[in-house]
């Protein structure tokens, strides 16, 4: 599986990459914000997007909205990883097109469950 991680924190990108590696996923691309994420999507296909919410340039929510209106990637599953855990935040993210939601801090087991839950069966 090919993953795209979009997060302005290099630490979080590394933590998520380490987690994915532990789960057996080695093909991972990175982007520092939503704008960069969209550029990565034009240069190669991915099977799943993992994105932060609060980022400079383009937020995770705006990024997801853009993904959902871009024909060749609009159906790619999106997992949001964030500290925003309020009910209103989760509703907003789901409305924007997020498939599932991981609240930081998280365990590899949680990440595995969330990834498996949004994969096409």
């Amino acid at each position: 599986m090919r993953f795209l991680i979009v997060d302005d924190s290099s630490t979080m990108r590394r933590i998520i990459i380490n987690t994915l590696n532990k789960l057996g996923h080695q093909d991972v691309q990175e982007a520092g914000n939503g704008k960069e994420g969209l550029e990565r999507l034009t240069s190669g296909a991915v099977d799943m997007i993992i994105t932060d919410w609060n980022m400079p340039e383009m937020s995770g929510i705006d990024f997801i909205r853009a993904v959902r209106t871009t024909s060749n990637v609009k159906d790619v599953p999106v997992l949001m990883v964030t500290t925003n855990a309020a009910k209103d935040d989760i509703v907003e993210a789901l409305k924007a097109g997020v498939n599932s939601y991981v609240v930081k801090p998280f365990t590899p087991e949680t990440m595995k469950e969330k990834i498996e839950a949004v994969l096409p069966r």
Partner: protein
């Protein structure tokens, strides 16, 4: 009713401790050793690395993480899965993310037990020594910490093996029910990085 300046709100401290333990256990893979909360303005931590996240709502304040440089390097290494000797430029971002997760988890817990909705700032990290004290940040127009309370109280702190975590709080009656503000998709406040929080460190 406002609390006397030396009174500790145990619910704040307990939830902060729980958030800190959770973040350290899941992201740093290390248990946190705790000590008794310290009331009032006692004890200025001798730290070289400080991460802060401000929060504002019915209650406003700052969550600040203090650490020695060696402690911060060890934490960064654990988070990234590398050797401490190989930690270099990653340290500010890692400590910022650590503080952000603690503050975010703390906010979630407080929303659960008190129903309060807080806005929180982006994390700010200062690495260095020989900081200058200042009391005039509240009127300085310093954009780095726009929501810091003018009257602040130390409610308590948690101590980890590598550093300390301190919570500053003050009642802010004008911010009831404030929703998170996201200009440009971000939270209010300063950028992640060094050099923005000197004024906030005067405990």
């Amino acid at each position: 009713m406002p609390m006397p300046s030396t009174q500790i709100d145990t619910q704040f401290v307990n939830e902060l401790l729980a958030a800190t333990r959770d973040v350290f256990k899941t992201m740093v893979f290390q248990e946190v050793e705790t000590a008794s909360p310290i009331a009032g303005d006692a004890l200025r931590p001798g730290a070289n690395v400080v991460g802060t996240v401000a929060f504002a709502g019915k209650t406003s304040g700052i969550v600040a993480f203090y650490s020695t440089l060696e402690g911060a390097q060890a934490i960064t290494a654990k988070m990234l899965g590398i050797e401490p000797a190989n930690v270099n430029g990653e340290l500010p971002d890692a400590i910022g993310e650590l503080t952000n997760m603690i503050a975010g988890s703390f906010r979630t817990r407080m929303a659960g037990v008190r129903g309060e909705t807080w806005a929180i700032s982006v994390p700010t990290v200062t690495v260095g020594s020989a900081w200058v004290e200042s009391n005039d940040w509240a009127d300085s127009g310093d954009a780095a910490m726009p929501m810091l309370p003018a009257r602040r109280r130390c409610a308590g702190h948690a101590r980890s093996q590598a550093g300390q975590l301190r919570l500053l709080r003050a009642d802010a009656g004008d911010h009831h029910g404030q929703r998170r503000h996201r200009p440009n998709g971000n939270r209010f406040g300063a950028q992640r990085g060094a050099g923005n929080v000197l004024h906030a460190l005067n405990l």
